[in-house]
Subunit: 584 residues, 2 copies
C-alpha cells in the first residue's frame, strides 16, 4: 500500500515543518530556513534516520513547488512597474549576473572542479532571492522606500534573465560546449517563443478566464487556472524549455487578467503548501557532513556572494544616477542566494551534468546569506554614513559631479518623447516580424507532419511545399503589412528629422527616404524568412507564382487586413491597460 | 527523470479535467461527472491509450483527495445544526444504512459474488453523496427549505456512521468474520478514541491556532493547519483507523476555531485541486467494458439505490413526524451514491479483500444516480401531489392521524427540559468515564514501553505496575470526582421525581437513593477499569495501598480537583460556544 506510505511521509513532513517553522517565526528568523532545517532533520543524513519511507515520491511531488513558485512570481510580474525603474534595474541585474557568474566559475576552477560544475556554480550565485528579500523588507517595514522599489525592479529583470540562463544552461549541458552561434540561435528561438506566446496568451487567456469566471464557481475557476498553467507548462516542456519558464510566463500572462486577485487568492495556499514541500525537499538533499568537508569553499563562496553582489549592484545603481546611500542599500539588500539557486542546482542534477557535492554547498551558502540579509539591510544606512565621512574629499567630489552630470544629460521633453515613440515603433515591428516567423515555423512543422504521414512523389512534395509556404505567407500578410506601415512611419520621422532642406530637393529626398526604407526592410525580412524556411521553400517558378498571388492579395485585401490587425492590437492593449478587479 | 514525467502527467490531467468539466458546467451537468469522464478518457481502457506514464504516482497523490475532502466535510460539521434536526436525521440515516447494506449484500449474493464483495457492495450503497446533494440543491436554489435542512442533518449523521462503518469494515476485512464481541470492542474503542480525541483536540487545537494566527502570516497559518491535520491523521493511522476518520475528526475540531473562515478559505483551493485529482483517479480505474459485462447488476443496483433510499429515508422522515411531501422530497434528494462509495471501494481494493469488478460497477451506478439527482428532486413535488390525490382516503386518514398523534405526544415544557438535563448529565458522566479509561490505556502503553526497554525481575515488575496503575488512578481522580458529582446530581433528581412521599421515610429514602447510586456507580466504574487494565493491575496488597492513598488524595485535594476540572470544562464550552470570526 504505497499510498498510505506517501501520506504518512507527507504527514511527517508537514508536522515537522510546521513545528520548526513556527519556532523560527517565533525567534524572528526567516521561515524558509525553517523548512530547510525541517528537511535536514527528516533527511537520511541526520538522526533520526528513517523518518520517511518513500522519499522518491516526495521528491517528485516537491518539484511542483517550482511550478507554483514560478507561477506566483509571474503573477507578480508587472511590465509597468518594470519600466519605472527600467535602466537602473537592467544595468544592475546585468552587472550582477555577469560578475557573479564569472566569480562563481573562477572559484569553481580554483578548487579544481570541472568546467560544468564551475559554470553551474556561477549561475547559482547569479540570481538573488525574491522570496527572502520581499520577506525581509516586509518584516523591516521598508517595502515602500525608494531603494526597495529599485530592488524589486532588479529582481524582475533578474527573473527574466534567469529564465534565459536556464534555457542556455540546459542547451550547454546537452551539447557540452558554448558556441556563439548556438547562443545566438538559443536566444533567438527563446525570444521568438516568448514574444509569440505572450502575444497569443495575452489575446486568449484573459478572455478565456473572464468566460470561466461567469460561472461564478471558485472550483471551476481554479481548475481552469490550473489547466491553463499546466497545459502551457506541457507545451513548454514539449519545446524542450524548462517548466520554470513555462510557469513564469503563464503567470505573467494571467497577471493581465481582470481576475488577478482571485487567482492570487486561490493559488496562494497551493503555492505555500508546495513551496514548503520544495524547501523541505532541498533540506532532504542536504548532508551536513559536507559542511565540514567543504568548509573552505562554503566560506569563500559566502564572502564572494555578499561582496560581489554588494559591489555589482551597488555600482550599477550608482552609475545609473542613484545616490551613494541608496546604491549601498540596494547592493546590500541583494546580497544573498535562494530559491533560484536551488532550481538551477536541481536542473544540473537532473540533467546529470553536475556533481553531487554542489547542492549541499549551495544550500549552506544560501542559509548563511539568508540569515545575514536582514542584518545587512539594517547595516547599510550606518555604513553609508560612515563611508561618506571617511571618504577623501576628491573622490566624494568626483562622485557628486558624476551624479549631477548624469541627471543633466538625461533626455527631456520632446527628445525623450521622440525616443519613446521610436522605441515603441521598433518594438511593434519586431513583434510583427516574430509573428511572421512563428507562422512559417508552424508551416515547417505542419509540412513535417504531412511528409511523415503521406508517402509522396517529388512533384507532390513541390506542390505541398508551395501550398504550405504560400499559406504561411498569406496568413503572415497582415503582420507584414503592419510591419511595413510601422516602418513607413519610422522612415517618415527619420526623413523629417535628418533632411532639413526645405526646398523641392529636400521634399523629394524625404519622399524617397520614406518610401525606400520600408520597402527595402520588408524585402530583407522576406529574404530572412525565405532563408529560415528553406526546408519548405518551393522551386523558384512556384515561388514566383506565389509571390505574384501574394502581391495581388495584398492589394485587394489591404484595408481588411489593416482593420483586422488593428483590432487585434487594440484587444491586446486593452488587456494590458485594464486594471484587475479589486473585489474579485 | 521521474519528476518531469509526473508533472507531465499532472499537466495532462489538469488540462483534460479543465476542458471536460468546463464543458459539463456549460451543459449544466454535475462537475464531478466531468472529472470522472476526464479520468476515463485519460485512463488505459479507452483510446487514446498512452496519455500518462506514471499512473502509480498519480494514484498515490490522488489519495490526498480523500484527506482534504474529509477534512472539509469535518470543517462543515456542526453539532448545533445536528441537534436541531436530530431525531429525524438519526432515524433516517440508520434506516437508510441498514436497509441499503442489506439490499446491497443480497444483490451481491444473488449474482453469486462472495460474502466480502457483497458486504462491501452493501456498504458502498449505504451512504449518499454530500458533494452532489449540496451542489444540486445549490443549483436548484432550494438550500434554505425545510427538507434541505433535514437532508443536511441526515448527511451529517451518515458521515459519522460511515466513519464507524469504515472502521468496522477494516476490522472485518482483517479478521475475515463478524463477531458480536469484536463489533462491540471495535465500536467501544472507536467511541473511546473519538471522545478523548475530541475533548483534548477541542481544548488544544483552537488555542494553538489562535496563537499561530497572532503572527499574521497566512503561510504560517496554513502550514500549521496542514501540520495539525496531517499530524492527527498520522496518529489515527498508527492506531489502525482510516485516514478518512482522522481527517474528518481534525476538521470537526478545527470547525470550533475562531479562524474557521480563514481555514476554509486557505484549504478550499487545495481541496478542490486534490478532489479533482481524486475523482479523475476514480475515472482512471473505470473500465467501460464493464458496463457491458455487468449491465444487469448495474441496472439492478441503480434501481435499488433510487428506490431503497427513497423508501428508507422517506419513511424515516415520515415516521418521525414530517409531512408526506417533505418526506418524499427528503427520500428523493438522497437517492444517489458518491464520494464515500469510492472511498469504501478504494478501501476494499487496498485491503485486497474485494474483486476488481466492484469498482467500475460502483462508479457506473454513481454516475447514473448523480445524473438523476436534480431531476428526482424536481420530480418530488408533482409526485407527492399526485400520490396525495391518488391515495385511498382510508390510508390518507391513517397517515394524517399518525402525524397528529406524534406531534401531540412530543414532550413539552418541563418534561422536555428535564429530558435534556438528564441526557446532558449522562453525556458528561460518559465523557469523564472515557477520559479515565484513556488515562489507563495510556498507562498500559507506557508500561509496555518500559517493559520492552528495561530488563527487570518479577518484583521490579510489581513495583512498576503499582507505580503506573497508581499514577493513572491519580491522574484520573479529577475525572472520577467529576463523574461522581454528576451522578449524585442525577440521583438526587431521580430521588425527587420517583419518591413522592413527603414524610421522614421519604426524606430518608431520597437521601439514601441520592447517596447510594453514585457510590455504587463509581465502584462499578472502578471495577470496569480494573478489568480493562488487568495487564498492569498490581498485586492485591499493592492495590490496597494504592486505593488508600487515592482515597486520602481525594479527601485532601477534592476542592482543587473540582476547581481544575471545572476550569477545563468551561474552557471546552467556551470553545464550543464561540462563533468564528467573520472577518478572519
Amino acid at each position: 500500500m504505497h499510498g498510505a506510505e506517501f501520506i504518512q511521509d507527507l504527514a511527517v513532513i508537514m508536522l515537522i515543518a510546521a513545528i520548526v517553522t513556527l519556532l523560527f517565526r517565533w525567534l524572528r528568523q526567516p521561515v524558509v530556513l525553517g523548512y530547510i532545517l525541517a528537511g535536514v532533520i527528516i533527511g537520511p543524513h541526520t538522526p533520526p534516520f528513517e523518518l520517511i519511507q518513500d522519499d522518491h515520491t516526495i521528491k517528485i511531488v516537491a518539484e511542483l513547488g517550482v511550478v507554483f513558485l514560478m507561477f506566483s512570481l509571474g503573477l507578480e510580474f508587472n511590465l509597468k512597474k518594470l519600466t519605472s525603474v527600467g535602466v537602473t534595474a537592467f544595468v544592475c541585474a546585468m552587472a550582477e549576473i555577469v560578475l557573479m557568474t564569472w566569480i562563481g566559475y573562477e572559484i569553481g576552477r580554483y578548487f579544481g572542479w570541472n568546467a560544468m560544475d564551475s559554470l553551474f556554480l556561477g549561475a547559482m550565485l547569479a540570481i538573488s532571492s525574491t522570496t527572502i528579500i520581499v520577506k525581509a523588507l516586509d518584516e523591516l517595514g521598508m517595502k515602500q522606500e525608494r531603494f526597495a522599489q529599485l530592488i524589486f525592479g532588479i529582481l524582475i529583470v533578474e527573473d527574466i534573465l534567469a529564465i534565459g540562463m536556464i534555457a542556455l544552461l540546459s542547451g550547454i549541458a546537452m551539447n557540452g560546449s558554448v558556441d556563439a552561434g548556438d547562443v545566438f540561435a538559443t536566444v533567438g528561438k527563446l525570444s521568438l517563443f516568448m514574444i509569440v506566446a505572450l502575444v497569443l496568451g495575452l489575446l486568449m487567456v484573459p478572455r478565456l478566464l473572464a468566460w470561466v469566471a461567469r460561472f461564478e464557481s471558485r472550483e471551476m475557476f481554479l481548475i481552469a487556472v490550473l489547466g491553463l498553467c499546466f497545459g502551457f507548462c506541457l507545451l513548454v516542456l514539449k519545446l524542450d524549455y524548462s517548466i520554470a519558464l513555462g510557469a513564469f510566463m503563464i503567470g505573467a500572462i494571467m497577471a493581465e487578467a481582470r481576475q488577478l486577485h482571485l487567482i492570487e487568492r486561490l493559488i496562494g495556499p497551493i503555492r505555500d503548501m508546495f513551496s514548503a514541500l520544495f524547501f523541505v525537499g532541498v533540506g532532504l538533499l542536504f548532508n551536513p557532513a559536507v559542511l565540514i568537508d567543504y568548509a573552505l569553499p562554503i566560506a569563500l563562496i559566502t564572502v564572494a556572494v555578499v561582496l560581489g553582489k554588494m559591489v555589482s549592484c551597488g555600482l550599477g545603481a550608482f552609475v545609473t544616477g542613484n545616490g551613494g546611500r541608496t546604491s549601498l542599500r540596494v547592493g546590500m539588500g541583494l546580497s544573498q542566494i535562494g530559491e533560484f539557486s536551488f532550481i538551477i542546482a536541481s536542473l544540473g542534477l537532473s540533467l546529470q551534468v553536475t556533481s553531487e557535492f554542489l547542492y549541499p554547498i549551495v544550500v549552506a551558502v544560501s542559509a548563511v546569506t539568508t540569515l545575514l540579509t536582514p542584518y545587512l539591510i539594517r547595516l547599510a544606512d550606518p555604513l553609508s554614513k560612515h563611508a561618506a565621512e571617511g571618504m577623501p574629499t576628491s573622490i566624494a567630489n568626483v562622485a557628486n559631479r558624476y551624479t549631477t552630470w548624469l541627471h543633466s544629460s538625461q533626455p527631456e521633453g520632446d527628445r525623450a518623447m521622440l525616443i519613446r515613440i521610436v522605441l515603441r515603433i521598433v518594438a511593434q515591428v519586431l513583434v510583427n516580424f516574430a509573428m511572421t516567423v512563428a507562422v512559417f515555423v508552424a508551416g515547417i512543422y505542419i509540412f513535417g507532419v504531412i511528409e511523415l504521414n503521406l508517402a509522396s512523389s517529388i512533384s507532390d512534395e513541390q506542390i505541398q511545399k508551395a501550398i504550405v509556404w504560400g499559406g504561411a505567407l498569406a496568413i503572415s500578410l497582415p503582420f507584414l503589412i503592419a510591419a511595413y506601415r510601422k516602418l513607413k512611419a519610422l522612415s517618415l520621422l527619420f526623413a523629417e528629422l535628418t533632411i532639413s532642406d526645405a526646398g523641392s530637393v529636400g521634399r523629394v529626398l524625404r519622399r524617397v527616404t520614406a518610401e525606400v526604407i520600408p520597402i527595402v526592410s520588408i524585402a530583407v525580412i522576406l529574404m530572412l524568412i525565405a532563408s529560415l524556411s528553406r526546408r519548405i521553400l518551393p522551386s523558384p517558378e512556384m515561388l514566383m507564382i506565389i509571390l505574384v498571388c501574394a502581391a495581388s492579395l495584398t492589394v485587394l485585401m489591404w484595408r481588411p487586413f489593416v482593420r483586422w490587425h488593428s483590432r487585434l492590437q487594440i484587444a491586446l492593449f486593452d488587456t494590458l491597460r485594464e486594471e484587475p478587479d479589486s473585489n474579485a
